[in-house]
C-alpha cells in the first residue's frame, strides 16, 4: 500500500515487543504497528492508535472499506478522510509482520488538505483532531447515505416513469451541492452525477467517472435540475441495475484533476463545523446554558444542535453518541425545562486529587445561573435566575471522556496545563444519569487512553495506551511497548511536578 511502507528502522523495537509479549502469547490476527512521526504529528498518531484499538470503530471502518471495495473494484481511487483512514487501518490489519512501523503519509496528507488548521507542522490538540475526524467521517457517511437514497428515489422514479411524474430535484442534492450550484450545474452530463456525494466527480467531464454503458443511454438527460423522466423511459431493467452500480462507483469516484479536489474540500470544511459545532464555537453562541462560575468551561463540547432524523444517523452515532439532558428550573416560576442534546464525547472539568468518577459527578452538579448568565425563561418572558443541571440520558457505546487539562489562564494570557492527578479506574459506571435513562448502570471498560506528556497544550508529546486482548500496550509514535496494568498509575497525573504524563482522553467501552 502506497504511503504505508513498513519502516525498517523499527525492526529492533518490534522484535523487542515480540519478545516482551512472547510468540506464544501473541494474539493471532492482531498487529501492533507504531506510526511514524512526521514532525509533531504525535497528536494524530495517538488518536489513530486509540481508534484502531476501539473494536467497534475498527470493525466499522474495515467493513466500510469492504463495502466500498465491492462497489468499485476497477476505479480504486478514493480520497475522503474516511477512505484514507480505511486504507491505513486495512494496511495495519493486513501486515505480514506482527509488529513494526508504518508511515501514515496518505492520511496525514489528506488531513492537512482537508483542515487548514492542521496544515502545518505545529503541535495540535489531540482532542480537536478527534472531533474533526469523527465529524468528517460522519459527514462522508451522511452524504453517501443521501446519495444512496437519491439513487433509490431515482430508481423508483424510473419504475414510475411511465406515469410521467415530474419531481423537483433540487431538494435531493447534498449539502455541498447546494453550496456550489454553479460548479455542478454546468458540468453535469449524466444522471449519475446528480446525487453525487461530495460533488467531486461533478466537476470532471464525466468520462472517467461514469460507467460507459449508461453514459450513452443517459446522455439525453440534460443539465436541468428537473429532468424529464420520459427520457428515462427508454431504460430497461438491465440498465436500471447497471445504473445503480454506476452510481455507487461515482459516489466514490475521485476528482479528475487537482483543482476539483481542492474545491471539493471547501464545503466539507464548512459543513463539518455546522454539523458538529465544537466547543469553541459553542462558546461564542449566545447560549443561556453556560456554567456561571467558569466562563470558558462550557460543559459539553461537541454538542451539535441540529435535529437528526434517522437518515443522518451513522455508525459514528451508534458508537459514540450519547445524550444528555439539561434540566433547567427557573427559580421564579419554577418551570422545569428539559432539553436533550447529543454528544460524541464529554469534556469534564478536573480538580486536584480526584477521580474521573468525581469529575463526572461535578459535571452534573446543580448550578445556579445568575448575574450575566441569567436564564431567559420562556414562561416569565425575561431573564431569570435558574438552576441548571446536566445528566446523561442515553449512555453511548463508547464513552469518550475528555479531561480539560488545558485551561486558559487570564493572568498569563495563554493556555496552561493542569497536571492534576485524576485517577481513572479500569471499570466505570456513571452516577449522573437521568431517572428515565435506559440501562443507567451500564458497566464500562477502559479500552484506550490518550496521554499528554509535557507542560503545555502546544508543547509536549502525545502517546496512547490501548487494551488489546487483555494486554495493555503503550504506543509512542513508532515504538510499541507492553505495559503492566499497574503501570497505569504513571498516567494519572501528579500532585506537584509540572512535567507530567497525564491521561487526556479516556475511552470507555460498554460491556453490554
Amino acid at each position: 500500500m502506497k504511503g504505508c511502507l513498513p519502516n525498517i528502522m523499527g525492526a529492533n523495537a518490534s522484535a523487542a515487543l515480540m519478545k516482551e509479549i512472547g510468540p506464544d502469547q501473541f494474539p493471532p490476527n492482531e498487529r501492533y504497528f507504531g506510526l511514524h512521526n512526521f514532525g509533531n504529528t504525535c497528536y494524530c498518531n495517538s488518536i489513530l492508535q486509540a481508534l484502531f484499538f476501539c473494536p467497534p470503530f475498527r470493525e466499522q471502518v474495515l467493513q466500510y472499506r469492504l463495502q466500498q471495495n465491492g462497489k468499485h473494484s476497477a476505479n480504486g481511487k478514493k480520497d475522503s478522510l474516511l477512505a484514507c483512514l480505511c486504507d491505513l487501518f486495512y494496511s495495519i490489519a493486513n501486515q505480514k509482520k506482527k509488529c513494526g512501523v508504518l508511515q501514515p503519509k496518505k492520511f496525514m496528507a489528506r488531513l492537512r488538505k482537508e483542515y487548514e488548521l492542521f496544515d502545518n507542522y505545529m503541535q495540535h490538540d489531540a482532542h480537536e483532531l478527534f472531533n474533526h475526524l469523527l465529524n468528517s467521517i460522519h459527514l462522508v457517511l451522511v452524504e453517501e447515505r443521501k446519495a444512496e437514497r437519491e439513487r433509490k428515489r431515482l430508481l423508483e422514479q424510473h419504475a414510475a416513469a411511465g406515469n410521467g411524474i415530474k419531481k423537483e430535484r433540487t431538494s435531493f442534492f447534498g449539502r455541498s451541492r447546494k453550496e456550489k450550484p454553479a460548479l455542478t450545474q454546468n458540468s453535469l452530463k449524466t444522471m449519475d452525477i446528480l446525487p453525487e456525494v461530495s460533488a467531486d466527480a461533478s466537476t470532471g467531464n464525466g468520462d472517467t467517472t461514469t460507467s460507459t454503458d449508461h453514459s450513452g443511454s443517459l446522455s439525453s438527460v440534460g443539465t436541468s435540475e428537473s429532468p424529464s423522466f420520459s427520457a428515462e423511459n427508454t431504460l430497461n431493467l438491465n440498465d436500471l441495475l447497471n445504473h445503480k452500480q454506476g452510481l455507487v462507483d461515482n459516489s466514490r469516484a475521485a476528482p479528475v484533476n487537482g483543482n476539483t479536489s481542492e474545491e471539493e474540500s471547501v464545503p466539507v470544511k464548512s459543513s463539518s463545523f455546522s454539523f458538529f459545532s465544537r466547543a469553541k464555537h459553542n462558546k461564542k453562541t449566545p447560549s443561556s446554558f453556560k456554567s456561571s462560575d467558569n466562563g470558558d468551561s462550557f460543559k459539553a463540547a461537541n454538542s451539535y444542535t441540529e435535529e437528526y432524523d434517522e437518515d443522518t444517523k451513522t455508525w459514528i452515532n451508534d458508537i459514540f453518541q450519547g445524550t444528555y439532558t439539561t434540566i433547567t428550573r427557573c427559580l421564579t416560576c419554577e418551570t422545569v425545562k428539559n432539553k436533550d442534546e447529543d454528544f460524541l464525547d464529554l469534556s469534564v472539568d478536573i480538580e486536584q486529587n480526584t477521580s474521573i468518577t468525581h469529575c463526572l459527578r461535578v459535571f452534573s452538579n446543580q448550578q445556579i445561573l445568575s448575574g450575566e448568565h441569567k436564564y431567559s425563561c420562556e414562561v416569565c418572558r425575561s431573564k431569570q435566575e435558574a438552576q441548571i443541571q446536566m445528566r446523561i440520558k442515553k449512555l453511548p457505546m463508547i464513552l469518550a471522556l475528555h479531561l480539560k487539562r488545558f485551561k486558559y489562564c487570564d493572568t498569563l494570557n495563554k493556555y496552561t496545563k493542569l497536571t492534576y492527578r485524576v485517577v481513572f479506574p479500569f471499570e466505570l459506571r456513571l452516577f449522573n444519569t437521568t431517572d428515565d435513562a435506559s440501562n443507567p448502570e451500564r458497566l464500562y471498560d477502559l479500552i484506550a487512553v490518550v496521554v499528554h506528556c509535557g507542560s503545555g497544550p502546544y508543547r509536549g508529546h502525545y502517546v496512547s495506551i490501548v487494551k488489546s486482548h487483555g494486554m495493555w500496550l503503550l504506543f509512542d509514535d513508532d515504538t510499541v511497548e507492553k505495559l503492566e496494568p499497574s503501570g497505569m498509575e504513571d498516567f494519572y497525573g501528579v500532585t506537584a511536578d509540572k512535567n507530567s504524563e497525564s491521561g487526556y482522553i479516556l475511552f470507555y467501552q460498554s460491556k453490554e
Partner: protein, 700 residues
C-alpha cells in the same frame, strides 16, 4: 488541624523522583508491647526505602525529649511495600515484623533486637511481583500470608526455610472454589530439599499454600483476618471481596464492587460487617450474617485507599441482646450452623433446624457457586422437616432465626422506642486518594434500611403478583405460630396509631416474606423501576430517607398485615408444604432475570436450579453480590475533611485520636470529635503541638 504530627525524618514531604507505579505506599502499624509492668505503644512506619520503629506518643503526653528510633532500616535494593507486626508474639524482648517488598520478597525482622531473621522468596523463585499485603495469621508466631499484585497469595511458615528453586505445585488444586483455587507443593520435592531443613516434612516446605485468587490475573490488593480468626477477607483488583475460611479454604461469601477494583477492607470489631473501599469512590458495607451488601457510602472524591472500624466508637450490644432485639446472630452462631453442612454430616432429627438453615444457605450458595449441586436434595429434606420447625427454636438456623426474630424485633422495636433496646451503631473511617478523611456511622437505620425498603415495596409487588401475595400471607403463618406474643403485638399495633414505628414494624413483618424468599430484592426492585406510578413513588421514598416513609405505604402494609394474619392462621396447616416449596424456588427468579418477575416460572426455575451457573460479572450485578445503586441505602459521611496535601494511605483509630498517614511521609494525629454529630467545632481551637522527630542515623 492535627493535634500532633510525626514527620518523615527528612522533614520535607517525601516526593521521590520515580515513576508513580514504582512508588511504594507509606504505611504505619501499631503494636502494644508489654514488659510485664508497663505497656508501651510502638509504631512501625515505612517511607520509601526506609522502615522506622519507635515509641508512639499520643498528644496527651508531653513530648519530653525527642523520640529516638528503636530501629531503623534502609533498604538499598528493594523498597518495602507493606509490613505487619506479629501482635501475638510481641514482647519487650522481641517484636517481629514481616516486611513485604516491591520485588516479591518477604523479610522477617525483629525490630526489638534489630535482627534480620529470615527472607522468604529471597531469590524470587516463588513470586516476582510486588507484595501488596502481608499479615501474620492470627494467634500464630510463625505462619504468615503474603498477597501479590499477580493475584497469588502464599502461606509461609517461617520456621521452615524457603528453598531457592522453583516450587512445584500439584497440578490439581487442593481446593477449588468459585473464582479461586488453592494449591499445595508437590511431595516429591522432598528429595531435593536442602539438608538444613531440620528434617522437615515435605508438606511443610514453603510456600505451604499457594492461593490463586483470580482467574484473570488481576491482583490481590489487601486482605484482613476476621476478629474470630476463622476467616480471611480478600479484596482484589477485579473488584471482588471474598470471605474465605482459611482453615478449610471454603468460601463463606463474596461481594463485588460497584465498579473497579477493591483496595481495602476491614472487619467490624464483632465480625458482623465488612467494610470495603475501592476505585468506585465508595465504601461498601457487607453483612456477614446476610451475605449481602447492605449499604454504600459516597463522600470521597477519589479512590478509597483505606478503611477501618473505630473500635472505640462502636456501640455493639452483647450477642444475646443482638439476637433478642435485632435478630442478628453472632458470628459464631453462623459458623456453628454452617459447619455441619460444610462437612457434609447428615443431621439427625434433633438437628433438623440446622438442616433447614443449611438448605437455606445452600440456596444462597447455589446461586453463586457451581459446586453445590445438592441443593435440590436439601430442599427435599427441608420440606419434610418443615413440620418440626416451631419446636426447636433455640437451635434454629440462622436464616430462619433471623426472619423470626425480625418479627420479634419489630414488636420490641416499637417498645424499644421507649428505651429498652440497647443502641446499636458502628463507626468506621476511611481515607482516600483525595486526601480526605471521612467518618461514617452505621446505625439501626442504615443497618435495617434494606429490609425496610424492601418491605415498603412489598405491597406493590403483591398487587402485581397475586401468587406472591398468597405466598407472603402464608409465610406469615409460622411466625404467628412461633410468637404468640409477637402476634398479639401485631394485632395490637395495627389498631394503634404508631404511624412512624408502626410502618417500620410492618415493614419488618413484611420483610419476613422477603427474607424467606431470599433474593426478593432482586425480584422486587426492578418492578419499582418500571415506571408505573405507585412503584415509582415507592422507589423515590426508598432513595430518600426513611423518615419520609409515606402514609400510603404504611397504610398499605397495615392492611396487608391484617390480611396476612387472618389468612395465615387458617390456611397454614394445609398449604404449608406447598408454600415452602414455592418459596424455595422464588429466589432464583431474581438471579435469572431481573426484568419481570411476574412471568410464570414453574418450568424455568427448575431448569435454573440444575443449570450450573458460571461466575460472570454481568450476572452478579443486580444481585446480592453487587446490587443496583438504588437497592442499597447511600450513606453520607458524618465528617468529610481534607486533612493533608497528598493522598492518604493509612488510617488507625487509637483510644484518644485518629491517626492518618499521608503518602508524603507525615503521620498526623487527630483529636476525636467530641460529639459524633458535631462536625465543625472539635479540633479547630486546639493548638497543634508538633512532635518533631530527630532523624537518627544517616539516610541513604
Amino acid at each position: 488541624m492535627p493535634v500532633s504530627e510525626y514527620f518523615y525524618p527528612k522533614r520535607i514531604p517525601y516526593a521521590p523522583q520515580v515513576p508513580a507505579s514504582s512508588l511504594t505506599p507509606v504505611k504505619t502499624s501499631f503494636v502494644k508491647v508489654s514488659d510485664g509492668l508497663t505497656d508501651e505503644d510502638c509504631i512501625c512506619f515505612t517511607v520509601g526505602r526506609e522502615l522506622f520503629y519507635f515509641f508512639y506518643k499520643s498528644f496527651k503526653q508531653e513530648p519530653a525529649q525527642p523520640v529516638e528510633y528503636l530501629d531503623k532500616r534502609t533498604y538499598k535494593g528493594v523498597a518495602p511495600t507493606c509490613h505487619d507486626i506479629n501482635q501475638f508474639s510481641a514482647s519487650a524482648d522481641s517484636v517481629r515484623v514481616a516486611v513485604g517488598f516491591i520485588a516479591g520478597q518477604v523479610q522477617i525482622i525483629d525490630v526489638r533486637t534489630k535482627e534480620s531473621l529470615q527472607i522468604m522468596n529471597e531469590d524470587r523463585s516463588v513470586e516476582k511481583s510486588r507484595v501488596t499485603c502481608v499479615k501474620w495469621f492470627p494467634n500464630s508466631e510463625n505462619i504468615l500470608l503474603a498477597a501479590h499484585i499477580s493475584g497469588f497469595m502464599y502461606t509461609y511458615d517461617i520456621t521452615q526455610p524457603c528453598a531457592n528453586f522453583m516450587p512445584q505445585y500439584h497440578s490439581q488444586p487442593y481446593k477449588s472454589g468459585n473464582g479461586y483455587s488453592i494449591y499445595t507443593l508437590k511431595t516429591k520435592n522432598t528429595t531435593i530439599s536442602s539438608p538444613n531443613s531440620n528434617g522437615s516434612t515435605a508438606t511443610q516446605r514453603n510456600p505451604v499454600y499457594k492461593w490463586v485468587m483470580s482467574t484473570d490475573g488481576s491482583g490481590v490488593n489487601a486482605f484482613e483476618f476476621s476478629p474470630c480468626d476463622k476467616f480471611v477477607a480478600v479484596v482484589t483488583q477485579s473488584g471482588y471481596l471474598r470471605i474465605i475460611d482459611h482453615s478449610t479454604f471454603d468460601e463463606y461469601g463474596c461481594m463485588k464492587s460497584y465498579f473497579g477494583g477493591l483496595l481495602t477492607c476491614s472487619w467490624s470489631p464483632d465480625g458482623r460487617y465488612v467494610v470495603t473501599g475501592g476505585e468506585d469512590d465508595l465504601v461498601t458495607v457487607w453483612s456477614f450474617c446476610d451475605k449481602c451488601v447492605i449499604a454504600r457510602g459516597s463522600g470521597h472524591r477519589s479512590w478509597v485507599s483505606e478503611v477501618a472500624f473505630d473500635p472505640y466508637c462502636c456501640t455493639i450490644p452483647s450477642d444475646a441482646d443482638m439476637k433478642a432485639y435485632y435478630g442478628i446472630p453472632s458470628v459464631s452462631d453462623i459458623v456453628d450452623a454452617q459447619n455441619p453442612h460444610q462437612f457434609g454430616q447428615d443431621s439427625d432429627k434433633s438437628n433438623s433446624m440446622d438442616k433447614v438453615a443449611d438448605a437455606a444457605d445452600d440456596r444462597y450458595e447455589s446461586d453463586t457457586k457451581t459446586s453445590h449441586t445438592d441443593s435440590l436434595n436439601d430442599v427435599g429434606i427441608h420440606l419434610k422437616l418443615n413440620g418440626d420447625m416451631p419446636t426447636s427454636l433455640a437451635n434454629s438456623a440462622i436464616r430462619r432465626l433471623r426472619t423470626y426474630s425480625n418479627v420479634s424485633k419489630l414488636s420490641r422495636l416499637s417498645i424499644g422506642v421507649e428505651g429498652s433496646a440497647p443502641s446499636l451503631s458502628y463507626r468506621f473511617g476511611s481515607v482516600g486518594q483525595d486526601a480526605q478523611l471521612c467518618l461514617w456511622e452505621l446505625d439501626e437505620n442504615a443497618l435495617f434500611f434494606l429490609q425496610r425498603s424492601k418491605s415498603v415495596m412489598a405491597p406493590t409487588s403483591q398487587h402485581c403478583d397475586k401468587e406472591e401475595e398468597q405466598n407472603s400471607s402464608k409465610e406469615q403463618a409460622p411466625s404467628n405460630f412461633n410468637f404468640p406474643a409477637g402476634d398479639v403485638d401485631v394485632n395490637g399495633l395495627s389498631g394503634l396509631d404508631y404511624s412512624g414505628d408502626g410502618s417500620s414494624y410492618h415493614n419488618q413483618v413484611n420483610n419476613y416474606h422477603h427474607r424467606t424468599s431470599l433474593d426478593s430484592s432482586a425480584v422486587l426492585v426492578p418492578s419499582s423501576r418500571s415506571s408505573s406510578v405507585p412503584h415509582s413513588i415507592n422507589a423515590s421514598v426508598n432513595q430518600k430517607e426513611r423518615k419520609h416513609s409515606s402514609k400510603l405505604d404504611s397504610s398499605n402494609s397495615l392492611s396487608a398485615i391484617r390480611k396476612f394474619a387472618t389468612i395465615g392462621t387458617h390456611d397454614r396447616s394445609q398449604k404449608e408444604a406447598k408454600e415452602h416449596k414455592r418459596n424455595l424456588s422464588l429466589p432464583h427468579f431474581g438471579f435469572k432475570s431481573s426484568a419481570n418477575h411476574t412471568s410464570s416460572n414453574t418450568t424455568s426455575k427448575i431448569g435454573f436450579l440444575r443449570k450450573p451457573q458460571p461466575p460472570k460479572v454481568m450476572k452478579t450485578f443486580g444481585t446480592n453480590i453487587c446490587p443496583c445503586l438504588d437497592d442499597t441505602p447511600m450513606l453520607v459521611p458524618l465528617i468529610c475533611k481534607k486533612v493533608s496535601q497528598g493522598r492518604l494511605t493509612c488510617l488507625d483509630f487509637k483510644d484518644d485520636c485518629v491517626v492518618t498517614t499521608c503518602q508524603d511521609g507525615y503521620i498526623q494525629l487527630w483529636k476525636r470529635p467530641e460529639m459524633p454529630h458535631n462536625v465543625n467545632s472539635p479540633t479547630a481551637s486546639t493548638s497543634s503541638l508538633k512532635e518533631q522527630i530527630k532523624p537518627s542515623g544517616t539516610t541513604v
